[in-house]
């Protein structure tokens, strides 16, 4: 459905002019709120609006109660059919959306989840660029939770039936598809109807997994990662968030909201999640058991859906320890602070990167693991990491950083990959890279992590069964190779598109067009071609990498040719080939502006023919084909294999002929004295022969005269 939806950049009924007129007024009303979430959307043509397939969105009418993290909600209505009350959630274009969830949730109704009617890529006037807009059915009731309250919104005895049962349903559906919601939190819940008998969870697909979650909702391993790098996660992460949600609804405010993020991290690491919550908040007694089960910091021990269902059914559930982290007999000091747990120490090392090198390098941490923690396995791994640093050779600084990073991996293998300022879960590296690249941090940190092969080390250290992370291992195998290649089509750009399925192409040429699917690329370039001067090639590093990842065909030959920009013939041929391949696979059939763009720059490609006549023929054909906008024909023109081979053979013959002529001329010009000697010899021979012949003739004539 979404694939069939058309991009409609502007209001069709009011026209582009009206949009421009409204623009100024619109800016003033950018944050104007709708009178009420239940109020019917305006049915008249008044106000600026954007038509998207079956829907109409009003960019000036905000619905902040339906906002989800960085995604903003706006008033919307159905145009062609009555979809009931709906709202549009406009995703932040600088953050990747979750493609799997969009695909799974769109168009189907799942109990416990807000109905995602459709989603589409739309030109969004306030941002002056395209982005993804999700169309949700408005819930029947209001938002469940508004932070800052002092008493429970829902009675603790009603919580199981009102909240837990509907949320179990959506979590079951998603976990069956190996997906996680990752946006379960109290302020993302809505009452399904006005009776307030059950709740439904809000959006979970418009931003990276866990990005919008307050740190308290994240389990202890994922909370240490940057928000964008918290990873896709699994059911156990949703269960943890559900535990916090129940606690929040039970106590009437977000737990630990009076503490800063850093304090929450330190408290959770020091005492464990449940102990921290129990110590700081007054949890409802009836809910203590499920909260303890769902906030267990060991993801393998944490309650799953079975345990929660058993508890709902009133059956006895295996009790869990809130905090299973082993404590050391003595503390390890890093940066002036004592740490008793390996996980806490790992975080301390990450926060005191430079100061941590000495204790790691000198074996102090290794001794602490062996004697203080009595953990021979990790101690052995640490001494192995130290030995590898000693063998590192010339680049000592890099080896030291790698040692610190590996040290963290050994101490907290289930935590995020941490390297200097970079911190992301293994299943969150892609969104983290996307965030860094689009928010000015660049790809340097990610590049170092991949080039130094830290993910591989992390994978080797993971304890227990974590399918959501281990499934990523195959994806990372190619990343290091991509990073080590310098040419177009590789580098961090390739990694970005390989890791993030819904990442739009970040090429400056088409970034505003929000190109996610390969089929969108050429239409976007065609649009760009109609307005920009054709001074550089329509393929840059981002576009080349985007094509390499998104196109199913093998593009390695073209990318290999792009490695040498000095060879302008092969370079231009490869670029045309890439574009032609995309057009051949995904259309559209005619791209006249892009055709002209390519035609203007393909002069070097005509040099593929040696023969002047052939080149002139190609140059005559190019404008004709360019006008037709068929890149495949343009490519075939310069890539006629039979003609090229013939041209090459003839050229080789011509070179040989020219060289032979050159040699002969040289011989003729330098053989003067030799020719004189030859002439002397031949002249004498000719003279003697002539003389002999005259003598013979004379004698014969005289003899004849005498006889007759």
């Amino acid at each position: 459905m979404a694939d069939n939806a058309k991009m409609q950049p502007d209001d069709t009924s009011s026209g582009a002019d009206m949009d421009l007129e409204d623009d100024e007024a619109g800016r003033g009303q950018a944050d104007q709120k709708a009178p009420s979430s239940d109020a019917p959307p305006p049915r008249t043509g008044g106000g600026r609006h954007v038509d998207v397939g079956n829907f109409r969105v009003f960019p000036d009418l905000r619905l902040p109660e339906f906002d989800s993290g960085p995604s903003q909600a706006f008033v919307a209505e159905g145009i062609k059919r009555d979809d009931g009350a709906i709202f549009a959630l406009v995703a932040d274009p600088t953050l990747p959306t979750r493609s799997e969830l969009l695909r799974v949730l769109s168009g189907i109704r799942i109990g416990g989840q807000l109905d995602l009617l459709d989603y589409d890529i739309v030109y969004w006037p306030p941002l002056d660029r395209s982005t993804i807009v999700c169309f949700y059915a408005k819930p029947g009731g209001s938002k469940v939770f508004t932070d800052g309250g002092k008493k429970a919104v829902i009675d603790e005895h009603d919580l199981p039936s009102t909240v837990i049962v509907p949320l179990i349903n959506i979590l079951t559906v998603l976990s069956d598809k190996n997906l996680a919601h990752r946006n379960i939190r109290a302020d993302n819940l809505f009452f399904a109807d006005e009776k307030r008998a059950s709740v439904i969870a809000g959006d979970c697909a418009s931003c990276p997994a866990g990005f919008a979650q307050p740190i308290v909702y994240e389990p202890i391993d994922r909370m240490l990662a940057e928000p964008a790098g918290r990873g896709a996660g699994a059911l156990s992460d949703d269960m943890y968030a559900l535990g916090i949600t129940i606690a929040a609804l039970g106590i009437g405010h977000t737990p630990l909201s009076k503490f800063s993020d850093k304090e929450i991290v330190d408290m959770k690491l020091a005492r464990g999640s449940f102990q921290t919550l129990a110590a700081q908040e007054k949890l409802p007694l009836t809910l203590i058991e499920p909260i303890r089960g769902m906030l267990c910091d060991d993801y393998e021990e944490r309650w799953g859906l079975t345990e929660l269902n058993n508890w709902l059914d009133g059956r006895r559930v295996k009790p869990v320890q809130g905090n299973t982290e082993r404590r050391a007999a003595r503390a390890q000091n890093i940066g002036g602070r004592d740490y008793y747990t390996a996980r806490g120490l790992a975080n301390g090392i990450f926060n005191n990167w430079a100061a941590s090198l000495a204790p790691l390098r000198d074996g102090v941490v290794e001794v602490w693991l062996r004697r203080g923690m009595n953990d021979a396995d990790r101690s052995k791994a640490m001494s192995e990491a130290m030995r590898q640093m000693a063998w590192s050779g010339s680049d000592k600084r890099t080896a030291e950083d790698v040692l610190v990073s590996r040290g963290i991996a050994i101490l907290d293998p289930n935590g995020p990959v941490r390297h200097k300022g970079f911190s992301a879960m293994l299943d969150g590296l892609g969104p983290m890279l996307s965030y860094d690249v689009q928010h000015g941090k660049g790809a340097q940190a990610f590049s170092e992590v991949v080039v130094r092969d830290l993910p591989t080390f992390w994978f080797s250290r993971i304890s227990g069964f974590r399918p959501e992370i281990q499934s990523q291992q195959q994806v990372y195998k190619g990343l290091r190779y991509y990073m080590q290649q310098q040419s177009m089509g590789y580098g961090y750009e390739r990694c970005l598109y390989a890791l993030v399925k819904n990442q739009h192409c970040l090429s400056p040429l088409v970034e505003n067009e929000y190109v996610i699917h390969i089929a969108q690329l050429l239409p976007a370039l065609e649009k760009v071609a109609s307005v920009t001067p054709h001074s550089s090639w329509p393929v840059d590093r981002h576009i080349a990498a985007f094509i390499a990842v998104r196109l199913q065909d093998d593009t390695e030959p073209q990318l290999t040719a792009l490695q040498n920009p000095g060879d302008e013939v092969e370079f231009s041929r490869s670029i045309i080939s890439l574009l032609a391949l995309v057009q051949w696979r995904h259309g559209p059939d005619s791209l006249p502006h892009l055709g002209l763009w390519v035609a203007r720059l393909m002069e070097p490609a005509t040099k593929v023919f040696h023969s002047r006549e052939r080149r002139e023929k190609v140059e005559r054909e190019i404008p004709k084909l360019a006008k037709r906008g068929n890149l495949v024909e343009l490519y075939n023109l310069i890539n006629d294999e039979k003609e090229r081979r013939k041209d090459q053979d003839e050229f080789i013959s011509a070179v040989e002929e020219y060289s032979a002529a050159d040699s002969e001329v040289f011989d003729l010009e330098t053989s003067g004295p030799a020719r004189m000697i030859l002439a002397e010899q031949i002249g004498r021979q000719v003279a003697s022969f002539a003389s002999t012949m005259i003598a013979l003739l004379t004698v014969s004539a005289l003899f004849m005269m005498t006889v007759w």
């Binding site: 023969s611 050159d662 010009e669 002397e680 031949i682 003697s688 003389s691 005259i694 005289l702 005498t706």
Partner: protein
């Protein structure tokens, strides 16, 4: 060593053949002296330039001697024929012929022409060869220009690349 032996053998062979022909000429001369003295006298006096050329031309092939002899003999042959046909092999007629300055002019003039031909022929041949070479050079240059016209400067750069 083997090469030196071969050379010596070759030299000995040519010397032997030269000696043989000289001996044959000597035998023929003696026979002619005994059988036809007037003819012998006419030939000896008339072919004197050839004899001189034979002795002075030491080049391989003795083309000078051959040239002079050919035309010299052409000049002498009519008088020998006249001696045989009209004079009945008379010494006095032979002497009379030889004392006629015209006879000497014809005989020795013909020998001189042979010598001139020997001198003139090499420059003529050299000119012919030079002209042929020039024409071939022009042809080849034209052929190269045609190739450049078809293939462009690429051809030159390709050849230069090959040279490097």
């Amino acid at each position: 060593m083997a090469k030196n032996k071969d050379k010596a053998a070759k030299g000995a062979k040519s010397k032997k053949s030269g000696g043989l022909s000289f001996f044959a000429i000597l035998v023929m001369g003696v026979l002619l002296f005994m059988v036809a003295l007037p003819t012998f006298i006419t030939l000896v006096v008339g072919l004197l330039p050839s004899v001189l050329a034979f002795f002075f031309d030491r080049h391989q092939g003795r083309y000078l001697a051959r040239c002079v002899f050919g035309l010299n003999f052409s000049g002498v042959a009519p008088y020998v024929m006249e001696l045989w046909h009209e004079g009945g092999q008379s010494v006095s007629i032979a002497t009379q012929q030889l004392l006629d300055p015209m006879t000497m002019v014809i005989m020795y003039g013909a020998a001189g022409l042979g010598w001139l031909m020997y001198l003139a022929m090499p420059p003529i041949v050299a000119n012919v060869l030079n002209l042929t070479a020039q024409r071939r050079t022009v042809e080849l240059r034209e052929q190269q220009r045609e190739l450049v016209k078809i293939w462009g400067e690429n051809l030159i750069s390709e050849i230069e690349k090959g040279h490097r």
